[in-house]
Symmetry: C2
Subunit: 264 residues, 2 copies
């Protein structure tokens, strides 16, 4: 990575720096005073203030205020990027094609710019406990849900309704549709499960079927709704699932945290 830094550059200098950076797909970080106009799926106006502006090599644009996680304005990617001096304002325009969205940053003062060229980042990103992993752990260990449960399929397609996380048969031979949530389940999760069970019932009118929502916790309205629909809930012990995943990872000689860091 090669970086160039510009301290309080006059706007005409900043214009040239940005143009070069945009055309050569460099990363730009700019501290400046600006106002912003956005027009696309929504439309917003942001008055003058001091901001952090980021333009990435792929055309992603972020305008950050001094607080918080979220950018106040942004463009996930852009097809056209331009910098143009208009009197005493440096106008940065970002145009996105689909959906058609325009972001216009009107810069009145630049405090600092860093341009980075040739940033290299090919590292792997490992997500250790996402919903799919939890589901797969439950598929391998259905006893965590209920003794005697036998998994028939995961991601089972149910007509137009979508995909049930797990489809199983219980100790009494009844069909079981299982919806897994990684976080506290609300009304939406219950509705989702209801939809799957409904479709299964319609497709298999004779078959006895249960619906089980598996989650670390339930909101109170969700519990009421579950009862109303005669669906069931099993508490998911996340700590236990994590432990199992860790053990299996160790057993399969996946890189541990330490070895990963050392290697990279």
């Amino acid at each position: 990575m090669k970086t160039h830094t510009y301290i309080s550059p006059p706007l005409p200098v900043a214009e040239l720096v940005l143009r070069d950076a945009f055309s050569r797909r460099k990363l730009v970080v700019m501290l400046c005073s600006c106002s912003v106009i956005y027009e696309g799926r929504s439309a917003t106006i942001l008055g003058e203030g001091e901001r952090l502006v980021i333009v990435k090599p792929d055309g992603a644009v972020l305008v950050h205020r001094p607080r918080g996680y979220s950018p106040v304005n942004w463009q996930p990617d852009s097809q056209v990027l331009e910098a143009r001096l208009d009197g005493d304002t440096l106008i940065v325009k970002s145009l996105r094609a689909k959906p058609r969205e325009l972001l216009e940053i009107r810069v009145t003062r630049v405090d600092a710019i860093i341009v980075a060229e040739g940033m290299v980042d090919n590292a792997e990103f490992q997500e250790l406990i996402d919903e799919a992993e939890i589901r797969d752990a439950l598929v391998r260990h259905p006893e965590l849900i209920e003794p005697g449960l036998r998994v028939v399929a995961k991601e089972k397609k149910l007509g137009d309704a979508g995909y049930a996380d797990i489809y199983a048969v219980d100790g009494q031979g009844r069909h079981v549709i299982i919806e897994v949530k990684r976080v506290t389940a609300g009304r939406e999760a219950v509705e989702q499960l209801r939809r799957y069970v409904d479709v299964f019932r319609r497709e298999n009118p004779e078959a006895p079927v249960r619906g089980i929502l598996v989650a670390p916790a339930l909101t109170e309205p969700a519990q009421k709704l579950l009862e109303e629909y005669k669906l069931e809930y099993r508490k998911l012990d996340l700590r236990r699932v994590r432990k199992i995943l860790e053990e299996e990872r160790r057993a399969s000689k996946q890189p541990s945290l330490l070895s990963f860091v050392k290697r990279s």
Copy 2:
């Protein structure tokens, strides 16, 4: 805004710079090579690579890779921020209290740091076309949904089900529950409306009631589901709504774009 810039500072220098910045709540922008470990609601490992790291005055932390809108790791805010040199690695730790989450950035090389002090940004942010505004426009102009419609309430509470966007009565005196979406409506939107209508029916068993989904477009599965539930759809002409909103804004002498920019 006062900025300080450090080009390729040795790690011990970077450590001091970060410590000072964290303790005095300055904004930090750092281009560096690092690996990242996160542990909290989930757990992730990111190998070594060149990244843009941002630490905001409120403790928000963002780690950006060279592409895309989303940070690869982050902290929406943090209670504890520390920088500590450990051999030839500069460890930046961010601890969030609730939920308890730890972000650890292991920096092996710093290419550039900008520290900004006293960033001032008090500007107003105007959101011009969010869902609430569309809904209010429809409340004022229900004829955009259907002639003869008379609005009774907006954000009408419906038992445990939540809030219906608009509650109205039609030309024949039938009750109408209306759900407004500003983007293409999918299955979820239909389920939401169904829930509202269901609750209304239960609470008013005698009353004839219709459910209308108002959105600029419908996905095909959503349309099927609507028919199945005997609910209705009205296309929302966003352009027309925008026009109406603009005219009303002009009429009420809200600051226009131009006057806003000039004033601020």
